[in-house]
Symmetry: C2
Subunit: 476 residues, 2 copies
């Protein structure tokens, strides 16, 4: 099915190996080689993990082998936790033993010195000559949350889902993971791209574009010499791509250069290019998590007319600011809907009949909240609903989660929930809502960002289906 | 000491009463009057709380009195949970019984209709004629976290601290509380300003400016007709004031008008005015919590030269972006410091000697991290340090909190911590760090915002001390 020379096919082989060897295993908890072994064996991966070290006998009660040649069966992925020079020798060893793919963890290449640039060329030449494809070097590696394979030196288990993430930085990649864990965002694949010596961002994007488990792609970017291919590939995937670009200022660029050996480009140039090519650009990792979460969970709206439902004005005002600043409008409800609202409320409603629909104190009662929500969501002027609710310790005023689910089902329109609440109260509601396709946020700014991402994706994917050139696309 | 006609003195009387009456007590858990009683009795307030209702006998096993006149002792605050018309009668009752202050919860005034505008005038006339000062109407009320007095219908207990908050919106005021609880921000006083019929923002600001328990003031603003006095008072307080202004767009303005009956002004005009007058303006509630937290906990730097210490480049690049975009520079370390760093590292350091100082994998070891941090913090080119660390499940690589505290103490310079971590791991570290004056954040964007707030406050308060006109001030 796949062309074996296709980068995406090579990456599929790396992410779905049968068995894995770790070159540079260690029994010292302060060494990377120990921590990677903990990750490899602790993530649920079903294949065999073979630690390799010339002299060591055992790591964490696993037998250590002296070399790839000494293994009892073939492996199809080598994780190489050796220094920058030994890594090159290890690639040759992989080739001799028929190991098609490797993760090269070591730094010390173009990001450090002139000598490092030469060494990285040697690594690439070796990999290409030997036909061993490599992730890295200078990377944490990757996590495939589908088969439980974690090649990083961060042992952890993550919520499983359909969002995959590519990071130019290990630290910001970890930041993504931490934010994702905090809000229950399900991760499919996590990729530390490192120096991108063999695979570029475009290759990882192609791979994830074809990957059945990936619905949404996030990308943290500092800079690349291959920006043209990146944006062409990202914008043409039939999946939303959300990018967070850092390294915007001169001195930050300098830091980026020293980090992964690439020049971070002008932020403004990137911004314009992202928009033209149909890539969703965000301004922080929090916003990236917010956007990928809504794209992961919610269905896409048929249009951009947003109904705001609340029992407290402030959060709806904050959300309206963000929506209106992006050029979207809050539609008026139809006279028919307003008549129904008035009928429900009585002749002298204690609130103004409009959008945002703020039903004030009455909204604390779940059934009342649900009745008004239903009227708003079924209004033909409304394409999707953003629903606000404030947590109160009074058990008579629970979260209206079951009503949100009911109204989402009967209206067939996307619903985004914003519960003004300490996050401690949210996990139980999140299960109810997000299982039913309603992403939950704890503040109005994030809820509005979630809505904006859905509207953008609906427009972008529709344009792609119509075969429009991505450059013709009107973006946010 | 205080002039009795001084709004600040009147507010002090309202926030520190001896005993409190609740007019409109209820035994129905769906009524506001029940929930306010829960709040009043559940917050730790030491005075007596008297529920009042003409017919009810008991609420939550407390005896209910038929009127203010029937109480066994004087009260000095009335919380009025009656409808908009009965509230006016209750103000007269307060005057007759010598109650000097009241919280008026009811909506239904200028925010709803023409008739409401007239009714609000009548309320104000009554209050002024009767010499009863009022918070509200159309408000959640207030929380004084110093004496445990919670007049809102949200029963809760909050972390106690030195940050006070004024909100034009109940919902966004709750959002502030929820975000504060999530990050352990200590609250002193929380004020729902409501329609500001009697006390304006400037009055609340004056009160908090004189309030010994308040070190930092946050303000959520949608719009006010009294903006000139607001900015004059806020900018002249010898405490930092952080404002989040919503209601920026036309339709959002419309929502704001219907909410608290005031016109939300042009965002750009407000922004410019805030800067000129020495008020710190932020773009989200999260950023307001971030800024007030750093101002609450950290000491102020002597200058704006920031040292970034890390063992992973990405987060320092993201933070550098935000700092450099605001015009600040990352100073070079002195040759003396660089020589010491090199001596510590050996002749061929595996990282570049610069600021950000990225010590790579070695930084996982707490003592090593602390040695480099000390060199950076004691460098005469550095006014304050932002220190990054990535959480790892390996117990050999704990957070370097004790080292951060040690270096902060010996250098005498402010330190801000950014731990890339799921928030679940942070409470224990927060205790160690924040007790010692080091605010802790979980992502680099927030950490940079925290640093920016400290630099701004240092400049602003220095200018005030020098007696500079606030309008001459150079702001962020």
């Amino acid at each position: 099915m796949h062309n074996k020379n296709d980068p995406a096919a090579k990456l599929r082989s790396i992410f779905y190996p049968q068995n894995v060897a770790l070159l540079g295993a260690s029994d010292d908890p302060n060494r990377v080689g120990f921590n990677i072994f903990s990750s490899l064996t602790g993530g649920g991966f079903k294949g065999n993990i073979y630690p390799i070290h010339p002299r060591l006998k055992a790591v964490l009660e696993h037998r250590v082998y002296s070399s790839l040649a000494a293994l009892p069966e073939p492996v199809d992925l080598a994780v190489i936790a050796l220094n920058e020079r030994s890594t090159i020798a290890a690639i040759k060893e992989c080739a001799e033993q028929g190991v098609p793919g490797a993760v090269c963890v070591a730094g010390g290449y173009r990001e450090t010195s002139e000598a490092g640039i030469d060494l990285e060329k040697e690594l690439l030449d070796t990999a290409q000559r030997c036909n061993v494809s490599i992730v890295g070097p200078n990377t944490l590696g990757f996590i495939n949350n589908e088969n439980g394979l974690n090649t990083t030196f961060y042992p952890m288990r993550l919520p499983v889902g359909n969002v995959s993430f590519i990071s130019q930085s290990g630290g910001m990649g970890l930041d993504f993971i931490c934010r994702a864990v905090d809000v229950g965002l399900g991760i499919n694949k996590w990729i530390g791209a490192g120096n991108r010596t063999y695979f570029e961002f475009a290759d990882y994007l192609s791979f994830l574009g074809e990957d059945a488990g990936t619905k949404v792609i996030g990308l943290y970017l500092e800079g690349t010499e291959d920006a043209a291919r990146l944006v062409h590939v990202a914008g043409s995937l039939k999946k939303p791509v959300v990018v967070y670009k850092a390294g915007r200022s001169g001195e930050a660029d300098f830091a980026a250069i020293t980090h992964t050996g690439s020049m971070a480009g002008s932020h403004r140039v990137y911004e314009d290019v992202f928009r033209q090519f149909g890539i969703y650009s965000v301004g922080s990792m929090g916003e990236l998590v917010t956007a990928t979460k809504s794209l992961s969970i919610a269905s896409l709206p048929q249009g951009s007319r947003i109904g705001l439902m609340t029992h407290t004005a402030g959060p709806s005002i904050v959300a309206a600011d963000l929506l209106l600043e992006q050029g979207y409008t809050l539609p008026s409800l139809t006279p028919q809907t307003l008549a129904k609202v008035q009928k429900l409320t009585g002749p002298n409603p204690p609130f103004t009949l409009k959008n945002p629909l703020d039903v004030a104190g009455m909204g604390f009662m779940v059934d009342v909240y649900g009745q008004y929500l239903e009227l708003m969501a079924t209004d033909p002027n409304v394409d999707m609903v953003l629903a606000f609710f404030c947590h109160n310790a009074n058990p008579h005023w629970p979260f209206p989660s079951t009503e949100l689910v009911r109204v989402k089902e009967l209206s067939g329109k996307p619903v985004v929930a914003c519960y003004i609440s300490s996050t401690a109260h949210l996990p139980a509601e999140r299960v109810i809502l997000e299982r039913s396709g309603i992403p939950l946020y704890a503040c109005p700014e994030e809820a509005a960002q979630a809505v904006l991402a859905l509207i953008w994706a609906a427009g972008h994917l529709t344009n792609l289906e119509k075969g429009k050139s991505v450059k013709e696309e009107t973006s946010r």
